[in-house]
Structures are given as structure tokens and as C-alpha cells.
């Protein structure tokens, strides 16, 4: 495994992640407009989204054909996880290169990302 090879694989990973998440968001968005197209959006006052949209586990658990916003949120979650996957992949790549310094550095970045997504705020 060389740096160039690693970068090439990462670029495929990133593009795939963005395409899949955009497709899911588009699907959820079409469904949202069909079901709620004639409702008034209320984004001028901040209420914060419902609890089910606020954590990885609840977004994954609630996703299904019944609620279109859940599908959008699931797509957005896939998008947020794409850079995390790229860091995890880099970690594996540096491990294959036997580069201890960069395995350590990449682990720190991954830990920060996991803390942000899963940590108690």
C-alpha cells in the first residue's frame, strides 16, 4: 500500500458516499413534498428538531417508509459519516504501511469525530 494507492481508493469511497446519500435525500425529499407539499414550513423560529432526528441510533431506528423526513435525515447521516469512513479507511491504510506515527495521529482524529457523533452533549 502506497500513499497514492490509498488516495485513489479514498476518492472512490468519498464519491460513492456522496452519491448514495444524495440519492437517499432525494428519495426522502420527493416523498416529503408529496406528503407535506401544501404545509407551511416554519423555519423562521428555532424550536430544534424532534428527538428522533438528533442521534445516530434514533435516526437509524426510525427510518422506514412511513415518515419521509426520517429518510432525509438518514441520507444526511450517511453524508456526515462519509468523512468519518474516510478517516477510518486512512487509519487502515497507514497501518498497512506500518506507519506508527500516522496510525496514532489518525486515531486521534477518528476519536474526536466519534466523540462528536456519539458523545453526550
Amino acid at each position: 500500500m502506497t500513499d497514492q494507492r490509498l488516495e485513489a481508493i479514498i476518492s472512490v469511497l468519498l464519491r460513492t458516499g456522496v452519491l448514495i446519500s444524495a440519492a437517499v435525500v432525494l428519495l426522502g425529499g420527493s416523498c416529503f413534498l408529496l406528503k407535506h407539499g401544501h404545509e407551511q414550513p416554519e423555519y423562521h423560529v428555532f424550536h430544534g428538531t424532534p428527538e428522533t432526528y438528533r442521534s445516530i441510533s434514533s435516526v437509524i431506528h426510525s427510518v422506514g417508509p412511513s415518515n419521509c423526513q426520517d429518510i432525509i435525515q438518514f441520507g444526511l447521516l450517511l453524508l456526515i459519516l462519509t468523512p468519518v469512513a474516510r478517516v477510518a479507511f486512512s487509519l487502515a491504510g497507514f497501518a498497512l504501511e506500518h506507519d506508527g506515527t500516522y496510525v496514532a495521529l489518525t486515531s486521534i482524529v477518528l476519536a474526536i469525530l466519534i466523540y462528536s457523533l456519539a458523545g453526550p452533549h
Binding site: H38, H44, I72, Q73, Y115
Partner: protein
């Protein structure tokens, strides 16, 4: 206004922002938030959440193209991402504690800088290089492809670059932007990384930085699916179109138009912030 009218409008605004952002190299996120808050009256926290998500999309999409060309340096990127992700966490926490009027003023100031940067074009200076112990320790020096074969470069002033990157991460988390301009300054000007390597590595880093604050935004309820959907799809579509148009576009004229638009938005954001209308 119903969702059937609101969603296409937001999509259109985001597509224009994404296209201009790609053409000028400033990214779409910095324009989406003021457009949503000033034109459509969206609460700045929802706008920031939606914008941040779109930043991840454009960064990951564009990074894929750049990485293939072999310009970006994943070691510099990963090393500096420690600073940007820590900054992003800090910024996102600050965002949840900062009054929206102050957020608006800070946003305006960042826009003013973006307008100035855009009107000036890219800076260029002669690069003299002192060897840097940290750069050697972390194997940051690299090479990029050029017509005359691989061109080697050395990296300097790593500590200064690292500190600037923490600042860039903080702004990214605070305002939901990619803060690519500041990342490029940290690498190009402070660390003396070649310009092309700086811009592509910056783009590569933006997604990871944004993901670090996106987690906090998500748990705080800033990421509203009905709004983030047209923003993300619009900015992504616009940036793909913008990147295709880049070759042959009259970038100089575009930069000036963009600087003008961003400048007006900057003044407007500061004004509404001071008056406490947001």
C-alpha cells in the same frame, strides 16, 4: 409560502451559491446561510445546520476529483485535521452558547474578509524555506506532478499553521462554513505549501472538519431535514456545474461580481445583528 414553493426556491438559491462558490473557490456554504436568513427569514441556527451539511457534500465530491490528480497531501491533511476537528468541536459548542445577534455580526465580518479575498485574487510570493523539525518528524514534505515530472516541496512553520488551523476549525464549527479560505492561508502563506497542494488538501480537510461539528449540530437539533434537503442537493448540483464551467470561465469578472454580492451580504448581516433582528 408552502413547502412546494419554499423547497424549489431554496434549491435554486443553493444551486447559485454552490455554482459561484465552486467558480470562485470560496465554497457555497459561506453564501447559503446569509441568503437563507436575509432573503427567506430562516433562523440562523437552522441555516447554519443546513449549510454545514452541504459543505460536507461539496468537499467530499470535489476532493474525490482532486485526490485523483495527485495534488493533495494526505499526511499534511491528517496532521492538521487534529487541529481543525478540535477547533470545530470548540466552535460548535460556542455556537450553542452564542446569541444569534453576535453570530450574525461574526458571520458578517467573515463575509467581509471573503469579499476582500475574492476581489484580490490569489496571492503569490517567492517561497524561501527554513527546514522545520516538526515537518521532518511528521513526514509532511511531499511532491506533486508537474509537466517536468514530480516537483518536490518542503513544509515550514508547522506550529503557526497548526494554530491557524485550530482557528479555521473554530470558525467552521461556529458558522457552519467550510472556512476553506483560512485553511488555504494557513498552508499556502504560513507553511509555504505550494498553492495547488494547499487548495486541494484544504478541500480534502473541509469534510472531516465539518463532520466534527455536524455531530454536535445534529444532537442540538440544528439539522432540520425539510430545509437541509434542498440546501444540500442544490449546493451539490451547483458546485458540480460550477466546477465543469471553471475552464474557460471569465474568472476575473466573476470574482468581482462575487465580491460585490458577498460584500453587500456582509454589511446586511452585521446590520441585522447589531439591530438584533435575527
Amino acid at each position: 409560502m408552502t413547502n412546494l414553493e419554499f423547497t424549489p426556491l431554496v434549491f435554486g438559491i443553493s444551486a447559485v451559491a454552490g455554482c459561484l462558490g465552486a467558480l470562485t473557490g470560496l465554497g457555497g456554504g459561506v453564501v447559503v446561510t446569509p441568503a437563507l436568513t436575509l432573503l427567506l427569514g430562516v433562523d440562523i441556527r437552522y441555516a447554519i445546520g443546513a449549510s454545514l451539511v452541504s459543505v460536507i457534500a461539496t468537499s467530499s465530491g470535489a476532493a474525490a476529483a482532486f485526490v485523483r490528480e495527485g495534488y493533495s497531501n494526505i499526511r499534511i491533511g491528517m496532521f492538521l485535521e487534529i487541529a481543525t476537528t478540535l477547533g470545530a468541536l470548540f466552535g460548535a459548542f460556542l455556537a450553542t452558547r452564542t446569541p444569534t445577534s453576535i453570530l450574525s455580526v461574526i458571520f458578517g465580518l467573515v463575509l467581509l474578509h471573503a469579499a476582500w479575498q475574492s476581489s484580490r485574487g490569489r496571492p503569490h510570493g517567492e517561497k524561501t524555506q527554513q527546514p522545520d523539525r516538526l515537518a521532518q518528524r511528521f513526514k509532511l514534505d511531499g511532491s506533486y506532478p508537474s509537466p517536468e515530472g514530480p516537483c518536490k516541496y518542503k513544509v515550514g512553520r508547522v506550529k503557526a499553521g497548526f494554530s491557524l488551523m485550530f482557528g479555521a476549525g473554530t470558525l467552521s464549527g461556529l458558522l457552519g462554513i467550510g472556512s476553506g479560505a483560512l485553511k488555504v492561508i494557513a498552508m499556502d502563506q504560513a507553511m509555504r505549501v505550494p498553492f495547488k497542494v494547499s487548495t486541494t488538501t484544504s478541500n480534502f480537510m473541509i469534510g472531516v472538519t465539518a463532520a466534527a461539528s455536524a455531530g454536535i449540530y445534529l444532537t442540538r437539533g440544528y439539522i432540520e431535514p425539510g430545509l437541509a434537503m434542498p440546501v444540500m442537493l442544490g449546493v451539490l448540483a451547483g458546485s458540480i456545474i460550477g466546477a465543469r464551467q471553471l475552464i474557460g470561465a471569465r474568472v476575473r469578472v466573476l470574482r468581482l461580481i462575487f465580491a460585490g454580492v458577498v460584500g453587500v451580504m456582509a454589511v446586511e448581516m452585521i446590520f441585522t445583528g447589531v439591530k438584533g433582528k435575527l
